[in-house]
Amino acid sequence: MDFLRPASWEEALAAKAEHPTAVPIAGGTDVMVEINFDHRRPDALLDLNRIGELREWEVGEETVRLGACVPYTRIIESLRAELPGLALAAHTVGSPQIRNRGSVGGNLGAASPAGDSHPALLAAGAEVEAVSVRGTRMIPVEEFYTGVKRNCLEPDELIRAVHIKKADGPQQFSKVGTRNAMVIAVCAFGIALHPGTRTVRTGIGSAAPTPIRATAAEEFLNSALAEAGLWDSGQIIPPAVARQFAELVSGAANPIDDVRGSAAYRRHALGVMARRTLGWAWEEYRGNERSARCA
């Protein structure tokens, strides 16, 4: 095995072009598990830890450009206002030790359907900055995931950053697991209200081969909110609308039975999370901030 240690981003791109099978390693919280358990023996590891710019972020006018290796701990501490959904999701990742090392870039690279950041990225709206020696591609996050633990990166590409839309309204995230810490999601749900465009976006985690948006549910809710004039009136969402939204979210999922939960349970739980997170987010939109800490 080779251990490639580029000192700069340009060196990293050159190394990835020369060794397309090299596995990028940032926090190691996924890659090292696979190596420790002998599930994976890559020809080479490409260490990204020495490239300082990957641990930086820039808050722009409309988006946050989040370096691929910014640890979850930094997101929780520093980007709660700009990226509230992602900060909530980040807080449910593993443990302090894992959050100190793990990053959104790693979550995207691993592309596990259970990755905690995906629902928040889908709901907020995000693009992946994929770079190779050939140039840069901006990939909308919903097109990035192509299958279980698969993404659309070319063998010579690396994730440099994720461009995430700054919140223009309330965002929520909810995750089902057996305890509060150190949990791989049984299923997860993210929601973001976008009052500017009068739209709602969603993200479903761990309940389909890839993270997905519940587009039928979004479209239903967008027209229901518009027809009833709720964005202007700030009235509560009628329970029948919330129920229909929840059913459509359940229906968007395509879960499997596995050790963490049954497909039927996942569908049910998603409906519950969709209804609750919509309620929390809408209450915040109406000016009533939610005080409870746990989703």
């Binding site: 095995m1 251990f3 190691g28 598990v33 080479a44 590891l45 443990s95 030790q97 894992i98």
Partner: protein, 188 residues
Amino acid sequence: MRLTFTVNGRKQQADDVWEGESLLYVLRERMGLPGSKNACEQGECGSCTVRLDGVPVCACLVAAGQAQDREVVTVEGLADFARQRDHGGCAAEGHGISLDDAKRWRSKPGENAQLSPIQRAFIDAGAVQCGFCTPGLLVAADELLERNSSPSDEDIREALSGNLCRCTGYEKILDAVRLAAARSEEAV
């Protein structure tokens, strides 16, 4: 490959390190420092927690090569690390503890024991049963108290949420952290 890094304040070197090897393996099998424990190898149990450039991490999930030129503190160096911190000392040459001293380290309860305040508190509160999870918990708890000298119970539970203990039911561990925090307040 050769690995050069700082362990408990002293420069160390390991040769013939396999590229897929974890920092934990290097510490235990090549440096002879078995304080950091090897259990789940997937970041769930926290028993291998060490400080990497000051940050608590699971040593089993750090590739050895990623520790090149960086500073690692293990439980064997915790007492020395805490002493340096309390006396405002910086990690100049001559500080730190050698591998031989680290290997000989014993928790001798008594006047001259080489214990950090958190280690003393774990003993006094009865927070150690089988002891397997203790090194990771000590490193994690020490880091909590470093950044938050009077943590709430919620702060303590969150800081230690990545460390599993199968013996104690955690109550005595929480007691120990509260005790260490209270003692540091008294000392000020």
